[in-house]
Amino acid sequence: MSKHEIRAPMPGTFYRSPSPDAPAFKVDGDAVASGDTIGLIEVMKTFHEVSAGVDGKAIRFLLDNEEPIMAGQVIAEVEA
């Protein structure tokens, strides 16, 4: 069973949902398609979508909502 890592393309603050009151884009265990948005990164007051980049059966997040992240840091793992 192979695992794929989704890494942050830029540094900033990671958000699990599109707005504070909205449900998370994905929760642990969800299946993902490559084009699915899995979170947002806020960098210098602008927001950028992060897509899964890979199809998989189950996603597992390594970061909580509103956590600071570095570029290249692993956001989540996806089971192929």
Binding site: M10, P11, G12, T13, K45, T46, P68
Partner: protein, 461 residues
């Protein structure tokens, strides 16, 4: 009471500016910082530094309790809020006073009054300052909105009473648009600002953004002439000048007098800015809003008047009367400020945090660079993208543009993409040299002129 120590409740280049102004007055400085800002320049320059919380602004720079606790622990006399963050938060100003400290700015009540855009329009009207045609006050229903339109006509802006800084604005071109946008605008305003109140203002087509610097000590009120800030992208200023060189002398006199009348109406204390739209064709100006803080672009005013606005606001907060009388304020020469942001103009202004590998700052007569940068500094991604402000002064505007071009060529910030290439292109542009622009000029120019220039070269900042 004279201020002997102050807490800087901000970050970035303005924190550096405040620390330097305080030091020039012999005042002890205490700099707050988030966990992400421990190595910022203002921390290095200040006498002391206090960690006030995690990187997220709402847990640090926007956390009133944390800032007040830092001020108490450091035993300072006063708090300078800078711009942005808590600078126009009336509750913060009140909390500073309640802690027995001096807030360097106007009283909480004045911030509250002028921060409510509808109330501010009413204050302006009382002071005889022309306002943009629109609703008489808050509009609470679509029927009231329709009445407002009957007075002002389309296109019309639906604005949030608690908004500001270009946020919370929608434009309706006709009645169907108004019907559609009005309820959405109200719920958005409620979500964004905690106040669903709206008002209407007519869209002034090709207007300039002109603003007047005011100073008050609660008894005396003066202006330090105006700034021209029409070059904006997404309602954010990019390039500012002083004075607004095409403004006819009689209009300048009326404009500046109206700002002083407004300051007097609210017995203003501290530094502030009255913003206007100016319609060149009709030679009419219209009040937009008052900013009750020091502005990003204050240095251009300092360069043409010789007044240190940050020092003046600290002295006034300490109880001193204004150190200058109106008749002593004179315009000399021309100044231009370029906002140097960590954004890549060749890639849609994508933010570009990173590490500054090499920094070369141009020097010489009439050149000033207000910045947070030093070599080896890593720009954090959590805050806005302003890195510094290149401010250039010369005897005439033409000479100022020439000096600006050479200063921009001499400014080297290796390691991150910046807006320097944008400013080089603007400084070389014929429309800019003629002063032939308005508030919506820059976005069109970026698409039509700059996109063509930027492509073949693939600028490396």
């Amino acid at each position: 009471m004279t201020i002997r120590s102050l807490l800087v409740a901000n970050r970035g280049e303005i924190a550096v500016r405040i620390v330097k102004a305080a030091k020039a007055l012999g005042i002890r400085t205490v700099q707050v910082h988030s966990a992400a800002d421990a190595d910022m320049l203002a921390v290095r320059l200040a006498d002391e530094a206090v960690d006030i919380g995690p990187p997220a602004a709402k847990k640090s720079y926007l956390n009133i309790e944390a800032v007040i606790a830092a001020a108490r622990a450091a035993g300072v006399d006063a708090v300078h809020p800078g711009y942005g963050f808590l600078s126009e938060n009336a509750d913060f100003a009140d909390a500073v006073e309640a802690a027995g400290l001096i807030f360097i700015g106007p009283k909480g009540d004045a911030i509250r009054l002028l921060g409510d855009k509808v109330a501010a329009r009413e204050v302006a009207a009382r002071a005889g300052v022309p306002t943009v045609p629109g609703s008489a006050g808050r509009v609470s229903s679509i029927d009231e909105a329709r009445d407002g339109v009957a007075q002002a006509g389309f296109p019309i802006m639906i604005k949030a009473a608690a908004g500001g800084g270009g946020r919370g604005i929608r434009i309706a071109a006709d009645m169907a648009d108004l019907d559609r946008h009005f309820p959405q605008a109200s719920s958005e305003a409620l979500a964004a600002f905690g106040d669903g109140g709206l008002y209407l203002e007519k869209v002034i087509g090709k207007a300039r953004h002109v603003e007047v610097q005011i100073l008050g000590d609660g008894k005396n009120f003066i202006h330090c002439f105006e700034r021209e800030c029409s070059l904006q992208r997404r309602r954010q200023k990019v390039w500012e000048e002083a004075p607004s060189f095409l403004l006819p002398a009689d209009v300048r006199e009326k404009l500046c007098a109206s700002a002083v009348a407004l300051a007097r109406e609210v017995k203003y204390s501290g530094a502030g800015t009255v913003e206007y739209l100016y319609d060149e064709d009709s030679r009419e100006f219209y009040f937009i809003e008052v900013n009750t803080r020091i502005q990003v672009e204050h240095p251009v005013t300092e360069m043409v008047t010789g007044i240190d606005l940050v020092q003046e606001m600290i002295r006034v907060a300490g109880g001193a009367p204004l150190s200058v009388r109106q008749e002593d304020v004179a315009l000399r020469g021309h100044a231009i400020e370029c906002r140097i942001n960590a954004e890549d103009p060749a890639r849609g202004f994508m933010p570009a945090p990173g590490t500054v590998r090499r920094l070369v700052v141009p020097e010489g007569e009439g050149i000033r660079f207000d910045t947070m940068l030093y070599e080896g500094y890593t720009i954090p991604p959590f805050y806005d993208s302003l890195l510094g402000k290149l401010v250039v002064w010369a005897e005439t505007r033409d000479a100022c543009l020439d000096r600006l071009r050479s200063a921009l060529r001499g400014l080297v910030i290796d390691g991150v993409a910046t807006t320097v290439p944008l400013h080089l292109a603007l400084a070389a542009d014929d429309s800019v040299r003629r002063g032939d622009f308005h508030t919506r000029f820059l976005e069109g120019w970026l698409d039509e002129v700059f996109a063509r220039q930027a492509q073949p070269k693939a600028e490396v900042a």
